[in-house]
């Protein structure tokens, strides 16, 4: 079996009205109950894209797919970097108005919403100004570079009455839809720990012709390396998995401790090339998280450890703690224990697993060809038409972003960090 669009809709429909859907992932309901899409120009949702670098370019491709089905229009694009500015004009066939300054863009072009994929430290003022200008916002994760900026975005969103969604795309992934349901119904027993990691072997240099670390161009293009603009892998990678842990446990951490260093890529970058963290959640449950960029053996993973089983969410696999023996083998054991020796049908054609060749494991959900970012943007457009999005969806982004920065703080101070009251919502 394979999850195509139809199967995905069946899955979301099957869970519609369930308590697990209502409490953990109400946004999936939008696929069963989409907003009507008018065909007229006046019904068109007009979107501007701020930041069209590597991620922004991908988001434009996603939005172009929606142009065919959802009556949206990429009305404007914006980037301060000339080559990307030019590339976005080409990518949109010259149909979108192009700007170097997003303020000018939102002033001059009539828009319903913006999609923001600029460097992390730019998210806050862009989001806040856009919300204040009456626009809905889809902002890439993580929310902002500082805790105060994250909270300011949240407050501006509350004040505006508009939609603000943060791009942790696993929130719209079909594997998580199935996994959350199974975890909540107790398939792997009580969850007692989460282990997650993101390991890669890459120098993570996006742009090589910048004149080297520390030059103004390098600070602008390879902004992920500079403390002023990013917390490196903590905000750019870890944030995804911190969101997943919060989501699975239905809670926020109580505290976090951690440590990080630069032990391999000593090229002048300011952010860690490796770190490890421990988050403590209510119920004495821990999330351990580590990240490294000089070894890729372990890849990336989120393991949900329960007393009866394990889920590996990044690889869509589920493992039982005590898998049932083959029927013949069970009979054989019974006979041995009972002192009998009768023939048992235990030989035959090779047994093979339904799932990939991983001993003992099976798929959580069938393989799928759906792009979770695309589904998220489809949800965003639907929510715009409906005028509102589930508050929990925004809160997922907020909590993940807050705890991402608290985790960074823990690694920098070596202290056990809790959440200051002013950031609690």
């Amino acid at each position: 079996m394979y999850i195509d669009r139809r199967k995905f809709l069946e899955m979301t429909a099957a869970l519609a009205g369930s308590s697990v859907m209502a409490t953990t992932m109400p946004w999936f309901n939008v696929f069963n109950n989409p907003a009507p899409v008018g065909k007229n120009a006046s019904d068109r949702v007009r979107i501007g894209v701020i930041g069209v670098g590597s991620r922004g370019r991908g988001l434009i491709y996603n939005l172009q797919e929606l142009e065919n089905t959802m009556n949206i229009e990429i009305a404007a694009v914006c980037d301060t970097y000339e080559p990307h500015y030019q590339r976005a004009i080409e990518q949109t066939g010259g149909n979108a108005d192009a700007f170097f300054d997003y303020r000018e863009m939102i002033e001059k072009v009539e828009l319903d919403a913006v999609v923001i994929a600029s460097p992390l430290h730019e998210h806050a003022h862009q989001t806040i100004n856009c919300l204040n200008a009456g626009l809905h916002v889809f902002c890439e994760k993580s929310m902002a570079r500082t805790l105060d900026d994250v909270k300011a975005m949240y407050d501006a969103w509350k004040e505006s009455g508009k939609i603000m969604l943060i791009g942790h795309q696993r929130l719209f992934n079909p594997v998580y839809l199935d996994a959350l349901e199974r975890i909540h119904r107790g398939d792997i027993g009580p969850v007692t720990m989460i282990r997650a990691w993101w390991h890669r072997n890459t120098d993570w240099v996006f742009y090589t012709d910048t004149g080297g670390r520390g030059t103004p161009l390098d600070r602008q293009r390879n902004w992920r390396f500079y403390d002023e603009y990013s917390a490196g892998m903590i905000t750019e990678l870890g944030s995804h998995h911190f969101q997943v842990a919060n989501w699975v446990l239905g809670n926020r951490p109580l505290s976090v401790m951690g440590s990080g260093s630069i032990n391999f890529f000593t090229d002048g970058r300011e952010v860690y090339d490796n770190f490890a963290m421990v988050f403590k959640y209510p119920g004495d449950i821990h999330l351990t998280y580590d990240c490294i960029t000089s070894n890729k053996h372990n890849g990336l993973q989120v393991q949900i450890l329960g007393n009866d089983g394990t889920m590996e969410l990044e690889s869509n696999m589920q493992f039982e703690e005590f898998p049932a023996d083959p029927p013949g083998l069970e009979d054989l054991i019974k006979q041995i224990l009972g002192g009998e020796n009768e023939v048992i049908p235990i030989g035959g054609a090779t047994w093979i697993p339904d799932a990939p060749l991983r001993l003992g494991g099976k798929y959580i959900t069938p393989d799928y060809a759906l792009d979770d970012t695309l589904l998220y943007l489809e949800g965003f457009v639907n929510f715009i038409r409906k005028g509102a999005a589930p508050e929990k969806l925004t809160n997922e982004g907020y909590h993940a972003s807050i705890w991402t920065l608290l985790a960074e703080q823990a690694t920098k101070t070596g202290e056990l960090v809790t959440c200051p009251e002013k950031y609690l919502i």
Partner: protein
């Protein structure tokens, strides 16, 4: 090995059983790491990359394995062949292509174990065809059982039942209740019923078939076995089970007997005193059993 593994170790207490099992598990991992073509770093993958038109040095273990495979090929008159994987891939990608055609013919002629040169003096191997790719899928489970048996002997474990996906089983010593282990061969059409019974002490039963079974009893990958003599997949839904003292021999023969004529099978049986062989044909929705009893030859 791409399947499940079970071990029953009667008579051992928990700690002792755990210790034995961990040693077995470690050995299986080692073998898998060495022989799996799915692992890029395995010795087999390394050999497949390096051996075309140049001598590729083998360690003693891999040399012995390749020697055993060549022996298996020889005693089965070419039916046991570990080089046919590219043909399997060909049929996977060209299901509706009619043969003969040039691509298929060129590929078929470039494969076969005659393209392998094994040098005893240099402990090295050389492939004479660029298409050659060794796949030990029809050998590995038997070999693992052989090595597990060595562990059990060393640890003085007298009684055990070991199974790889039910198709390769090792029965060690006597059944704890006395007498031989009575290993029934499952009737695919009547799950849970035995179509035949092997009785065995210290030996192995290997079943090869041109289908696999999933948890739900559904048949998968029908026609994944290539007949080396014709170069096309075996279409009949059949399985062969071989009981032999050596798990490796049982494994190689069960694979080969799937594509061998009765006459050729009997020729092999004549060379051994301690083999028992059945072939089951599931065509037309019926279970037809054939017992190869060499007394009748």
């Amino acid at each position: 090995m791409g399947t499940r593994f079970n071990a029953i170790l009667p008579g051992l207490d928990y700690d002792e059983g755990d210790r034995v099992f961990l040693l077995i598990k470690r050995e299986i991992s080692r073998i898998e790491g060495k022989l799996s073509r799915f692992r890029r770093e395995s010795d087999i993958s390394e050999m497949n990359r390096a051996a075309f038109h140049q001598d590729c040095m083998l360690d003693d273990e891999l040399y012995d394995i390749m020697k055993a495979c060549l022996f298996g090929n020889e005693i089965t008159s070419g039916a046991f062949d570990i080089t046919l994987r590219p043909l399997m891939e060909y049929w996977k990608n060209n299901q509706n292509v009619s043969v003969p055609n040039d691509n298929w013919d060129n590929l078929r002629c470039s494969l076969g174990m005659q393209q392998i040169e094994l040098s005893e003096a240099g402990k090295s191997i050389r492939y004479n065809s660029a298409n050659l790719e060794v796949d030990l899928g029809g050998f590995g489970k038997g070999y693992a059982l052989e090595k597990i048996n060595e562990i059990l002997v060393n640890l003085k474990v007298k009684c055990a039942f070991i199974s790889f996906g039910e198709s390769s089983v090792l029965a060690k010593g006597e059944h704890p209740a006395g007498g031989p282990w009575k290993i029934g061969i499952n009737d695919y059409l009547k799950p849970g019923k035995s179509v035949y019974r092997f009785e065995i002490n210290d030996g192995s039963v290997s079943t090869s078939s041109n289908f696999f079974l999933t948890d739900h009893g559904t048949l998968k990958n029908h026609m994944h076995v290539i007949d080396p003599f014709t170069g096309i997949p075996v279409e009949q839904c059949i399985s062969v089970s071989v009981m032999a003292p050596s798990p490796v021999l049982a494994e190689m023969l069960s694979t080969a007997f799937l594509v061998m004529s009765d006459e050729k099978i009997f020729e092999v049986l004549d060379q051994y005193d301690d083999l028992e062989v059945i072939k089951i044909n599931y065509e037309s929705g019926k279970t037809r059993l054939k017992l190869y009893d060499k007394i009748n030859t």
